[in-house]
């Protein structure tokens, strides 16, 4: 579905990562984890086609990403960054409606179908009550829920999320994870960059990104992947299995 081969990215003359080859599959939620500065966000930006790689290529549905027209790409794939840069007086409803831009285009007004998509996305993140409030007046967690609704309202088959759980309280964290799992159950491709390892361990697949590229790739239960995870954090964490079978990561 979505993938990259031998991808190298430079930002401000510095090589962030080199020679990364990884593929993401429909029906699968992949979590990218790794230490600060390993290039997780940069990798996600490149996959979204928002950064020009120094070498290598990104492909979506078997076609080189650079060959995709902007609007078609935007329909096929939605990306959400860390929401700290968001500022302004737009109402939450209008922010979420931006997700429909690729569908109805720059010059056409939203259709009832667009409004329905916006409404159900806001419902999914329990953000309907903020629809008529300006985004800048919301708390961090409330704003994050609106921004997540914006991503879900795309109804795109590929979803890329950078730290989607940040600012969210535990009930809304699990609400989002359920929403993402609904997407993968319907054949969607979900890729998240996650800082919280315990949440990452709940994903279908872990990609461990270290200073020298991908160090581990596979199911969170795979001992090789777990070993790579412990390794990349210099043994500062341990992975435990709870009695209900869930994995948790604890700082040592």
């Amino acid at each position: 579905m979505l993938g990259c081969s031998k991808l190298s990215v430079k930002r401000q003359q510095r090589v962030v990562f080199a020679d990364v080859t990884v593929d993401f599959h429909p029906g699968q939620w992949t979590a990218i984890v790794g230490p600060n500065g390993a290039g997780k966000s940069t990798l996600l930006l490149s996959l979204a086609g928002l950064l020009t790689p120094a070498h290598g290529r990104v492909h979506l549905q078997g076609r080189d990403l650079t060959l995709w027209p902007n609007r078609e790409r935007a329909k096929a794939m939605a990306w959400m960054g860390q929401g700290d840069a968001v500022s302004g007086e737009l109402l939450s409803w209008d922010v979420v409606m931006l997700a429909r831009l690729p569908t109805h285009g720059l010059f056409q007004g939203p259709t009832p179908l667009d409004e329905q998509a916006v409404h159900s996305a806001l419902e999914e993140t329990e953000a309907v009550e903020f629809s008529c409030r300006r985004i800048q007046t919301l708390s961090g967690g409330e704003r994050q829920r609106v921004l997540l609704a914006r991503l879900l309202a795309h109804e795109a088959p590929v979803l890329l999320l950078d730290e989607p759980l940040v600012h969210l309280d535990p009930p809304h964290q699990s609400l989002l994870i359920q929403a993402l799992k609904r997407r993968t159950a319907q054949g969607g491709t979900v890729v998240t960059v996650l800082h919280e390892l315990t949440q990452a361990l709940a994903a279908d697949r872990l990609v461990v990104l270290g200073p020298h590229g991908v160090l581990g790739d596979g199911a969170p239960t795979d001992p090789v992947v777990q070993h790579a995870l412990l390794d990349v954090f210099g043994g500062a964490v341990s992975i435990e299995r709870l009695s209900n079978g869930r994995l948790v990561a604890l700082p040592r």
Binding site: R73, A74, G81, T137
Partner: protein, 317 residues
């Protein structure tokens, strides 16, 4: 809207000797002098309000104004050059004679666009807004220094430039009204059509791009709209402080709307603001006239000061 219409009536009824009911000769006066002036003030205000709303949306900065990116300093320099050339007898260079031929307003228009073009070249395009703002500052300083140097060399330019810097609506005629009206309609239609780009920029450059917007081109187009609106306004009235900064500010405070609404309402607010400021400037010390730029500066400065003191109360709106 109401304030705009009342303002128009006041502006027309206001003669150099105060208010009076129009007599037959007054009607001629109104038609020949006050009408184009009032309409011109209205259109200039609208252009500046629109340019300000574009600037604040493009640069995601509530303090951005239309004179950013070197348009003000470019226009000033062009006017200084023109005045200097007109006062000296020996004009050889054909490119410079071109400026003379254009007259002050034509020169100011060209100068404003050249200023913005310089900033864009210096910043290598519109990709990085911070780099572009910085380039605008640099161009402003350099062109400003050149203007100062020229006024030192030819002191006769100083007086002319002074009225340009304060801004004045007294040069407006039906020709300028026509130019401004056509320009305003075209730029307003175009920028409202692309206003969703400004909405998307609220979520940052990357998100806007991920929504399928060709940001480089869209931003360049909107900058051209802003530069044209500013250039048209500067050409007819010189520099008018704060109209472009304040109008979108007021709109964004009071109305919950997307950028298409902000652009239209900022134009209306700018029009109302300048019309009233112009009437006041003509009335306060009648029959003497004060430069309208002084009044927009006083109103704008007062507004910003009020905003600062009331900030806590506003912040929770």
């Amino acid at each position: 809207m109401g304030a705009l219409l009342v303002g128009l009536v006041v502006a027309l009824a206001l003669g150099s000797d105060g208010f009076s009911l129009p007599t037959a000769t007054d009607w001629d006066l109104i038609n020949a002098i006050r009408l184009p002036r009032a309409l011109g003030a209205l259109l200039t205000g609208a252009l500046l309000g629109l340019a300000g709303a574009l600037a604040q949306g493009l640069f995601r900065n509530p303090l951005a104004d239309p004179y950013l990116l070197g348009s003000a300093s470019g226009a000033t320099l062009a006017v200084v050059i023109t005045i200097t050339l007109l006062s000296s007898v020996t004009v050889e260079s054909t490119t410079l004679q071109f400026l003379v031929h254009l007259g002050y307003s034509g020169a100011a228009f060209v100068g404003a666009l050249v200023g913005v073009a310089l900033s864009l070249t210096l910043a290598r395009g519109a990709r990085q807004t911070n780099g572009l703002l910085l380039a605008g500052v640099v161009v402003g300083i350099l062109l400003g220094a050149l203007s100062n140097l020229l006024t030192l060399i030819s002191p006769e330019a100083l007086r002319g430039v002074q009225t340009f810097l304060y801004g004045s609506t007294s040069w407006l005629n039906f020709g300028s009204v026509t130019r401004e009206a056509i320009g305003l309609v075209a730029i307003l239609v175009l920028s409202v059509r692309y206003s969703r780009v400004l909405d998307a920029l609220v979520l940052g450059d990357h998100t806007a791009m991920s929504l399928g917007i060709d940001l480089k081109r869209a931003r360049a187009g909107l900058i051209v709209c802003m530069a044209l609106a500013t250039g048209l306004a500067v050409a007819e009235t010189g520099l008018l402080a704060f109209v472009g900064l304040m109008s979108p500010h007021v709109v964004r405070r009071l109305v919950d709307t997307t950028h298409s609404g902000i652009l239209v309402l900022s134009s209306l607010t700018g029009a109302t603001l300048l019309l009233w400021a112009d009437s006041i400037a003509r009335w306060v010390w009648a029959p003497q006239e004060l430069p309208v730029g002084l009044f927009t500066a006083i109103i704008g400065g007062g507004y910003l000061l009020t905003m600062l003191t009331l900030q806590d109360r506003w912040e929770n709106h």
